[in-house]
């Protein structure tokens, strides 16, 4: 603590002399040595998008994650370290320079397996020093980069496949070429604003031959389309000058996402998996003449399932007959694609493979549950235990000592674990309290009970933490009301005043006074109920995909005022903010009072303030309609008037806000690219950078007793900034004074055991709170 104070004071003193009027503190000066600590967890890990190996050193392996950056292993995949912590954490492609693989690393940001919850990238990055420093090399608006190919001899010649924006038209798409090592780029294959390059690959034996799969695709908040007349597979034999479709043997009609691979040991052998209009024609196609002719070999479900999520084919570098394909369980063929079997047991949803270049029995697999390694050709799989790239949708806290963190994860259930633990927070400390996709987990304020849920409120569990028993308590349809529409990430809330009260939102607000045993609907349909956004049964494009992830016109956030239980705020995914002042008897739609926000912008979070009954913050975000601006507004009059509190300081869209309980001007904003803090009520914002990557922050909570700020990130697990109370004292008066002595709470001498934990050397262990006074 002493060091923080000293640094803060230095900042104060030096700034005070420079500024006469209002004193603005930003960035590292503001935060001194306050530092984020990461507690994981890593035991369920998170989505891996891309794997890349070193051409000659089989101990070096890279993992590109969906939301947790790039990780490097120097021990053959036994453990990994992050190397990309200052930039966008959503990764599409990692590529090593073939002639300088130890130093020159390229990273294309923006994940390419385009589910509803994907994060966004912001360009192409290069490191020339093995991942220590990174430089952006264009493609600012590309959102998603699928491929990077580098000429094996003349490494200044490069190709980049840009999948491009998922949610809007955009011209920065297609195949790009550079002849000066990435300084300048030419778009050498462009179709239109909705068709991106889902893969561009180079023939490993002839760098002038390229294959490019182009994909017509689009997501909205309520639908997905894969496929169209523009999806096609192209080949160039003149280093990208001219391109021709190679469809001889493909069926007529629209195509969807096309996977493509060349056998490294035989350039004439190509494999492609097609999503086609005719269901019977879907499957694995093979060419024995470098793409001149194609034959359908196999239509197994494992090959054709969810092309938008699984379109990676990897061929064994030594054996052209060994082919791996991503899917729910991952498929592998050893007879040239005629027949397949599943890979060994892993977390479901397999995205990428990497075969050791010399020993194909050594292989690596990227899944929704992290990275796996195999020593027997994919039969037995072992999960990497130190990749804390878990993707939280939401977190909450309790009042235990040490307090616990609760939350739900993408495809990884619901969990809680301690904020500190003897020896550090490790895998054994975490408890699983839900299955499926997890979202919100809330602890009962006074009892050892929690609520958890799975996608679309298909199940909401009331979980007894002492007896380990569960009861499903989700609201069900009742007579006189429409069928319930729950968001994929269905909102729940509890009350500060009534411990047994429990809210859930469908299109209606549901309230229970008995911990979910019985429910009452206390609102009309609070959404726009726009029927044109409720055709999920037709969503998906060529492959209908109605998982519930696109359910729309639903309530997304619920907040009961901590000061008055009759004041309840509701925000919907289709842009409504509604408020009641009488416990749900009457509702006001205050949406039209918002200023500077496009209609129907998703209301992601409403924070009901402790500083006034009518005071609340609303965070809206429109990235699902292509609007990446941050929107955060404050009202002090129950939504009658709103004032924007965001500035140009903020990069990327925002999802969540947390106010300080004491200093109304101190606010914390969770954005797609990290955490921002204001100490002046939103006039200035600074990104918090001390050990805090620009990871998507989906939820923030502030612990009332410890003043710890706890972040639920979508890619780096739970991150805690211990005791933010010094920031409360950074008032204009304090800044103007020559010297300011911070008030500090008495230090506590911890009596927690120091016996340590049980984690092995290869497991992730989260840091504990510092005990230094």
């Amino acid at each position: 603590m002493k060091r923080i104070l000293t640094l803060l004071m230095c900042g104060v003193v030096s700034m005070a002399s420079a500024q006469q009027n209002e004193i603005v503190l930003k960035g590292k000066q503001l935060y001194g040595d306050m530092r984020a600590r990461h507690i994981g967890p890593a035991l369920m890990s998170g989505r891996v998008i891309d794997l890349e190996g070193h051409p000659t050193n089989d101990r070096i392996l890279y993992v590109g994650s969906a939301g947790g950056g790039v990780w490097k292993s120097a021990n053959g995949g036994a453990s990994f370290q992050p190397i990309f912590d200052d930039h966008a954490q959503s990764i599409g492609k990692v590529k090593l320079d073939p002639k300088d693989p130890d130093n020159t690393i390229w990273v294309g940001t923006g994940e390419i397996w385009t589910r509803n919850s994907v994060s966004v990238g912001d360009g192409l990055y290069k490191s020339s020093d093995g991942g220590v420093n990174w430089e952006k090399k264009g493609f600012e608006n590309s959102e998603r980069i699928a491929s990077i190919e580098i000429h094996p001899e003349n490494t200044n010649t490069m190709y980049v496949g840009v999948l491009g924006a998922l949610w809007n038209d955009n011209e920065e798409r297609g195949v790009f070429k550079s002849e000066d090592g990435g300084e300048t780029w030419d778009n050498i294959l462009y179709i239109d604003g909705t068709t991106g390059c889902s893969d561009v690959i180079m023939d490993p034996n002839n760098p002038d031959i390229l294959y490019a799969s182009m994909w017509e695709f689009r997501r909205t908040g309520w639908s997905f389309n894969s496929g169209g007349n523009n999806s096609a597979l192209y080949k160039s034999t003149d280093a990208g000058k001219t391109w021709n479709k190679i469809h001889n043997g493909f069926p007529e009609g629209k195509l969807g996402r096309i996977a493509i691979a060349v056998a490294p040991s035989n350039s004439n052998i190509l494999y492609s998996v097609l999503e086609t209009e005719d269901e019977k024609k879907r499957g694995l196609y093979k060419s024995l003449d470098a793409g001149q002719n194609w034959e359908l070999l196999n239509s197994d479900f494992g090959l054709v399932v969810r092309p938008f999520y699984f379109s990676r084919i990897v061929v064994d570098p030594q054996n052209p007959d060994v082919v791996a394909k991503g899917g729910l369980f991952g498929s592998i063929s050893r007879d040239g694609g005629k027949t397949f079997r599943n890979l060994g047991f892993m977390h479901a949803d397999i995205h990428d493979f990497y075969f050791d270049k010399k020993n194909s029995d050594r292989m690596y697999v990227g899944t929704d549950g992290g990275a796996y390694r195999s020593l027997d050709g994919g039969t037995s799989m072992e999960r990497v235990a130190n990749l804390p790239i878990s993707q939280f949708y939401q977190i909450s806290l309790d009042n235990e000592e040490p307090y616990n963190v609760y939350g739900g994860l993408q495809d990884n259930g619901s969990w809680y674990g301690p904020s500190s633990s003897p020896g550090g927070v490790e895998a054994r400390d975490w408890n699983v309290v839900g299955v499926g996709d997890g979202f919100r987990v809330l602890r009962h304020p006074t009892k050892k009970i929690l609520y958890s849920e799975m996608q679309g409120a298909a199940n909401v569990w009331r979980y007894d933490m002492e007896r380990l028993s569960t009861k499903t308590v989700q609201p069900l349809q009742v007579k006189g009301y429409d069928k319930l529409r729950f968001n994929w990430n269905a909102p729940m809330a509890i009350s500060e005043k009534q411990p047994d009260r429990f809210y859930m939102g469908s299109q209606y607000l549901h309230r229970s006074e008995d911990m979910g045993a019985t429910w009452e609907i206390i609102s009309p349909d609070l959404t726009t109920n726009d029927k044109s956004k409720q055709n999920q049964s037709e969503s998906g494009g060529l492959s209908v995909d109605n998982s519930g992830a696109e359910n729309h016109c639903t309530i997304f956030t619920i907040a009961e005022s901590p000061l008055n239980e009759d004041v309840i705020w509701v925000g919907t995914d289709d842009g409504n903010i509604q408020v009641t002042k009488d416990g749900g008897k009457s509702w006001s739609n205050v949406t039209t009072n918002l200023t500077g926000v496009p209609a129907n912008t998703w209301v992601y979070h409403i924070e009901a303030s402790v500083h006034g009954e009518g005071t609340a913050y609303a965070v809206l975000e429109g990235h699902t309609s292509g609007d990446k601006n941050p929107y955060t507004l404050k009202t002090t009059d129950y939504g009658q008037t709103w004032k924007s509190i965001v500035t140009d300081d903020i990069y990327g869209f925002a999802r969540n806000i947390q106010e300080d309980y004491e200093n109304e001007d101190l606010l914390f904003l969770g954005t797609e690219f990290g955490l921002y803090i204001t100490i002046d009520g939103g006039k200035n914002w600074s990104r918090f950078e001390n050990n805090m990557p620009p990871v998507a922050v989906h939820f923030i909570d502030l612990h009332k007793k410890t003043n710890d700020l706890v972040l639920g990130t979508h890619g780096r697990g739970v991150i805690i900034i211990d005791d933010i109370s010094p920031l409360r004292q950074l008032t204009q008066e304090a800044l103007a004074a020559d010297v300011h002595f911070f008030e500090t709470a008495p230090a506590i001498i911890s009596e927690q055991s120091t016996f340590g934990g049980t984690a092995s050397e290869m497991e992730f262990v989260g840091g504990n709170k510092s005990n230094d006074a």
Binding site: D300, F301, R341, D376, T379, S380
Partner: protein
Amino acid sequence: MMKKKNLLFAILFALMSTAAYGQDITVDKILDNYFENTGGRENFKALKGLRMNAKMNQGGMEIAIEILNLSDGRQYQKISLQGNDFMQGVYDGESHWSVNFQSLTPEKSDAEATENFKTTLNDFPDPFLDYKKKGYTVELAGEETIDGAETYKVKITMEPTKVDGKEVETVSFYYFDKEAFVPIAVDTEVQAGPQAGVIQRITQSDYQEVNGFFFPFSLGQGVKGGAMQAITIESIEINPTVDASVFVFPGGK
């Protein structure tokens, strides 16, 4: 021939009443007794097919299974689950295939699995039948007490199995009850997949007569030393009539 409803009970009884057993027992004597006690070698050789209807309970859900085997190797298992039928392990003389539980479409097994399956075609109705002609080796590997019953442990080595292209010996251990001379357990080492190296055990009890043959009506399947999944045979049909078209792989590719 003993008519027993409950073999295990009889075995326990035998165990208490007699501790004497032949010192000069040979594998062929065990097998002679086995075939004689369960229906006779010639009758087994004349079998054209078997249809078994079985039930198992998994997590509170009852699953009905129809197991059909023909002497020419064609076979299927039909699993009925919540009103749906899933054809599994179907062999039509050429392709080995199963219906995918998610897409409900038929899919061929991978080439190696099919090749391995074909080595079992000569094992209907029993691998010990004419084992010398098949080139199998059979030897007495000792004596063991299984679930309280004294048994002869008989090792049988059959055609090798291929695992990722490499040949692996295929060995099973049959535990023949010393009193009744029927196998009450079969241990086989799992050769492929993530479970490789694990000893799989099948237990067989409650032998009942069907048209002069004796078959176990109570099966257990699991890992040696672990929990067993109980499978109850409800009926067995000898030489059933079957529509040949059900075996044919219906898919295109």
